[in-house]
Amino acid sequence: MANFTLKVNGTTHQVEVEDDTPLLWVLRDQLNLVGTKFSCGIAQCGACTVHVNGNATFSCVTPVSSIGNSEVTTIEGLSKEGNHPVQKAWEEVDVAQCGYCQAGQIMNAAAFLEQNPTPTLEEIDNAMNRNICRCGTYHKIREAVALAAKSK
């Protein structure tokens, strides 16, 4: 066991876990931030996507010991009122079916648009291809990312 000081959503947290513990399980089991989802555990589906220093990161394969002083942002901290342009676009387009993958989709889209505010549709496709939606809401995901890009 080791002590780690983590900066998550602007707040500093102390946790005591094994140093190989993935950030995902620190968020979910230690900090009770369960908006970040577990699905594959091997960086294949994107349900666990968070921002580490603004970069979309698969938290399921990111050991807590690798975080250091980095700023972690989860879906709970993306905006105070749930009104980040990407969240608003997701509501406007009514993207979700079961909804389980959508927090990861939103976090991936938000980081992508931060780095590429005026993407082409092809760039949207390339960026969002790393997140799986088993319900098949892909058309709406494309639409919502494009809308968020326009409204930013």
């Binding site: 066991m1 876990v17 094994e18 190989d20 513990t21 993935p22 399980w25 979910r28 089991d29 230690q30 009770n32 931030l33 369960v34 908006g35 970040t36 989802k37 577990f38 699905s39 594959c40 555990g41 091997i42 294949q44 589906c45 349900a47 989860t74 879906i75 709970e76 993306l78 749930g82 969240q87 997701w90 509501e91 009514d94 979700a96 079916q97 079961c98 909804g99 389980y100 993958c101 959508q102 927090a103 939103i106 549709l121 496709d125 390339n126 969002m128 291809n129 997140n131 799986i132 939606c133 088993r134 319900c135 098949g136 809401t137 892909y138 058309h139 709406k140 995901i141 494309r142």
Partner: protein, 720 residues
Amino acid sequence: MKTQTGTSRRDFLKIAGTTAGGLVIGFNWFSCDSPKMEVLSIEQVLAQAKSFNSFLSISPTGDVVIYSPNPELGQNIKTSFPMVVAEELEADWEKVRVVQANLDPQKYERQLTGGSGAMPHSWERLRKAGATAKFLLVTAAAQTWNVPVTEITVSKGMIRHEGSGKKGHFGEFVDLASTLSAPEEVTLKDKKDFTIIGTPIKNVDAKDMYTGKPMYGLDFHREGMYYAMIQRAPFGMKISNVEDSAARGVLGVTNVVTFGSSVAVVGTSTWPLMKAKKLLKISYEPDGIVESTTDHDKLFADLLATGKADVKRKDGDVASAFKSAAKIVTAEYQCPFLAHSPMEPENFFAHVQADKVELVGPTQTPDRARQETARLLGIPPENVSVEITRLGGGFGRRLRADYVIEAVEVSRAIQAPVKVTWSREDELTGGAYRPAVRYRFEAALDAAGTLIGYKLRGVGMNAGNTTRETNFPSGAVDHVLIESIDHASSITTNAWRAPITNFLAYAEQSFLDEVALAVGKDPVDFRLELLSRAKTNPVGALGYDVDRMIGVVKMAKEKSNWGKNSSVKQGFSVYFSHKSYVAQVADIEVSGGIPTLKKITAVTDCGLVVNPTGANHQVRGGIVDGMGHAMYTNLTFEAGVPKQRNFDTYRLIRLKEVPEIETHFVDSGFDPTGLGEPALPPTGGAIANAIFAATGRRLRSQPFIEQKEFSDIQLQIKRA
């Protein structure tokens, strides 16, 4: 439309007697437009709401609480059910709060998600629930104002009497209304007057989903609960020895529990359990037949040739028809096992106590979870409570209660509350799959190219009836023989979105394409010719409405510009399942020898469309699901263990692999039927038929990308 409510006065009083009374918080309805209006929490609303029936409570503030009893897994029932209640109530949708009801068989008749059956089952019940409450509110208003009931109008939660100029919101009348007797019959609205049904109401859980609120089973937490993960035996094996000292040595592991052929590691958080599970040394011994995919391939061949089959349908004299045929077409089609792979892996919370059991989690069949728990523990079912969380997908996997019972077993063993979580590897290797099936089709045609004989023989691994004997083309052919063989396998199976038809439709619609082309007929005209026969002079019992099927075929032909653009190669498919009709056309363009899938056009007749956004979602999602599994996904076995263990090898369709999907709905005037499944079955056939039209390659097995016929086809997928 007048309809019996089915509510006796005594029933109503019983329901009213359970009403939560209490504090009325000061609230001025007419300040609603003020931007500073305080929005009450759901707890505040419920504390003062009066119950009108199982679906509906209304608070003196005018807030309307609608209970949604069926598990929500993405089919949008939690939005569409309340829309139906609110429509008949004439509620203001802005004032509607939706609450997921927990399991309560006393209040709800069909609290499950499966078979696309919720809406057809509940449509009239929901309407009556809304209409009954509206009647009581109107009666209360008429009594209060001393005016005739017939002069009162209701709109958007407001009750008005034009003559006197009096008006009031629902909340002002709930106290009186909830003391009145429920009417024996109520008048339902004319469909043309609907203002909520048929509009694109947004998902009621949207905000919570997009801000990461805890709402799924995996998010559930109880102070002091333990976590557990389970190692299950390979299919056909049982445990002979467990060596768990290394697992017990992992920091955070508190216990290791063996039950049946499973070993559970228990601890205080999830990650140590994932590590500990890998340290378990479990020896297994055969407990039945240990199977591999190569064994299944041989079994399919043997059983199709000589297996004893159940005759599911026999019309006319098939032997004579085939003897007299001018042409015979034969083909075999095969599909693999598939996992359901919902994004939220299986999980459940259980707390077994001396006199009761508390269950919380994602289930499509809460009552089954309760009954199986009661049976295991030998207690009355009433002592088991089930809280239904939102489900991160289901696809049929959560119709079973196996993962609920595991949680109960572990909680019983450790005498503490526990949440059992499956890893993705557990989910893909842990069973209850879509069964592997192989079909042989034979068609006899006369000299005019008319289908005179049709034989279908299906073999499935724990598949039950592999056929749908009353479905098309039954009814359209004089001589039919449909047979099914169910082979008992040690690999567990379960309903998988559109059970059986998820593959049968592809096989049948591909085969009909082969038959049409063999006699030089246009595949759509060939189907219409058959349907015309089924309409004018049907043979035997039919499970489908011929006119509705013709309706979607004709509209799909029109909307897809079938056959009108020679540079576009098209594939057609149509299927009836779960009371709905869906026709699809896939468009492939070939340029420089490279085929590109550009579009799928879908025409659906599901009766009245309750929510256009939800309906579009279900059709597009069904098509993406059908396409993904037809194209890419395989699950194979080696000595009772699946070889594909996670999404790196178990390939699911991704965003860049979906083409444009254009949806249309037939305005058939029928009451709504389900849509969670019916759009999936036709998709594989439409794509396979388009691939044949474009390349001359006939794909008779799934997944397509693993077939040798497909190996040199560089199919591109274009987003319009």
